[in-house]
């Protein structure tokens, strides 16, 4: 089913970034927005490692603990992403992410610190996390970071639930992690793509349309800071515990869900030269921009620049 009305939109600040909600039926915006706020509050309380009162921050070490259905889903999704990427996207990078200085909300990080970073240590490995669907067992010395998947999961949950609840088409973009669900605009959902999700709306590198699923972008050009003269960013290579010196500045991927898209785009940054082949093998349409601005596309991603 397609619709021709102009979507109604709202933009709020959440999860340390911007949350954009668009619906095809303007009358459905209020209900969808209420659902989005409730979901964002719940995911933050369950998964934020920056809140001492969050459920993930209070998980005990070395003993099995039951978790809420939402945190359980977030852990399961993170472990699945690790499994799908052979550990390129691994939730056990918690200590490594803290070690590079990402130990608080990004807005509170010292963007040019003088102290050098400690020697990096590889992530313990996702397979060490005990998970039976209801209880989690975190070995001592292992810290979870669900940052690579929790935001995308939230976009998936909000879009699908809002579409089901209101019966209209919904687009959710959480810091550039996009999911659409329900009826589609006549020409699809138009999405601007670029290094920066906020700047892309006004000055996109490219505009594409999608009829369903998710679209996510991982970039080393945003969320960067410096330590002792070295520029670091928020993506960590689990194999080294350090930020990867990637060939790619920005990778955008379309997939069946936002979690799948974000899993693939993050893995691509870590994989480096192997990323185009990895994405093509999985028939994932993607746009990879290298550090010099050269673009490579895979699996049917449109190359034409927006008019």
């Amino acid at each position: 089913m397609t619709r021709t009305e102009s979507p109604a939109r709202t933009v709020v600040t959440a999860l340390g970034t911007t949350a954009l909600l668009a619906v095809l039926e303007p009358d459905a915006l209020a209900a969808a927005e209420r659902l989005m706020h409730a979901e964002l509050a719940a995911i933050d309380l369950a998964c934020s490692r920056f809140r001492p009162d969050s459920e993930i921050s209070r998980l005990p070490a070395g003993t099995a603990a039951p978790v809420s259905p939402l945190l359980g889903e977030a852990i399961a999704v993170a472990l699945q992403a690790a499994q799908q990427t052979d550990g390129m996207v691994d939730p056990t990078v918690g200590h490594a992410v803290r070690a590079i200085g990402y130990d608080r909300d990004f807005a509170e990080i010292d963007l040019d610190g003088a102290d050098p970073l400690p020697a990096p240590q590889a992530a313990p490995g996702w397979w060490r996390v005990g998970w039976d669907g209801h209880t989690v067992l975190l070995p001592r010395g292992l810290a979870l970071d669900l940052g690579a998947t929790a935001k995308a999961l939230s976009a998936d949950r909000i879009a699908t639930r809002a579409a089901a609840a209101t019966g209209t088409g919904v687009l959710v973009s959480l810091g550039g992690d996009v999911r659409v669900a329900g009826p589609t605009p006549e020409d699809g959902w138009r999405i601007a793509v670029g290094d920066d999700h906020e700047r892309a709306l006004a000055d996109p590198d490219l505009v594409v349309s999608i009829a369903g699923g998710g679209l996510a972008t991982s970039s080393t050009a945003r969320r960067t800071w410096r330590r002792a003269g070295r520029t670091v960013h928020h993506i960590v290579d689990p194999r080294t515990g350090d930020v990867p010196v990637s060939r790619w500045r920005t990778v955008s991927v379309a997939a069946a869900t936002c979690v799948d898209a974000n899993t693939a785009s993050t893995a691509a940054v870590v994989l480096g030269d192997a990323a185009p082949g990895w994405l093509a093998d999985r028939r994932l349409p993607a746009r990879l921009v290298d550090v010099d601005g050269a673009v490579i596309t895979t699996a049917g991603w449109p190359e034409r620049r927006a008019a």
Binding site: W131, H197, A254
Partner: protein, 102 residues
């Protein structure tokens, strides 16, 4: 007679000689034991002093294996991120949303 007395005066009593050997050996053992105790005591004291003066590094937190280990072999359902039903298409006009670094 006198020569007999003289021999008796300088004769060694076997029991007395045995007592002297025992006392001597005990003395040597006691002195040696004390010396050894002083020697090893100083070694331990030196080692302890060096350890105390050395900078402490926190031992790495142990990471134990999980009780339940997820299957590392993948099945078809979960083997890879799933592609979309259709690839993105070129589009014109104002975008509704955006995807980029955050």
């Amino acid at each position: 007679m006198s020569s007999h007395r003289s021999r008796r005066a300088y004769a060694v009593d076997p029991r007395a000689a045995g007592r002297r050997r025992v006392v001597g050996a005990t003395t040597v053992t006691a002195v040696g034991g004390t010396a050894l105790a002083v020697f090893f005591g100083s070694l331990f004291a030196q080692a302890f002093a060096e350890e105390s003066a050395a900078p402490k590094t926190a031992p790495a937190a142990p990471v134990q294996a999980a009780l339940t280990v997820p299957e590392k072999t993948t099945d078809a359902k979960h083997s890879a991120p799933k592609p979309p039903a259709s690839a993105p298409q070129p589009a014109h006009g104002a975008p509704v949303g955006s995807s980029g670094g955050s």
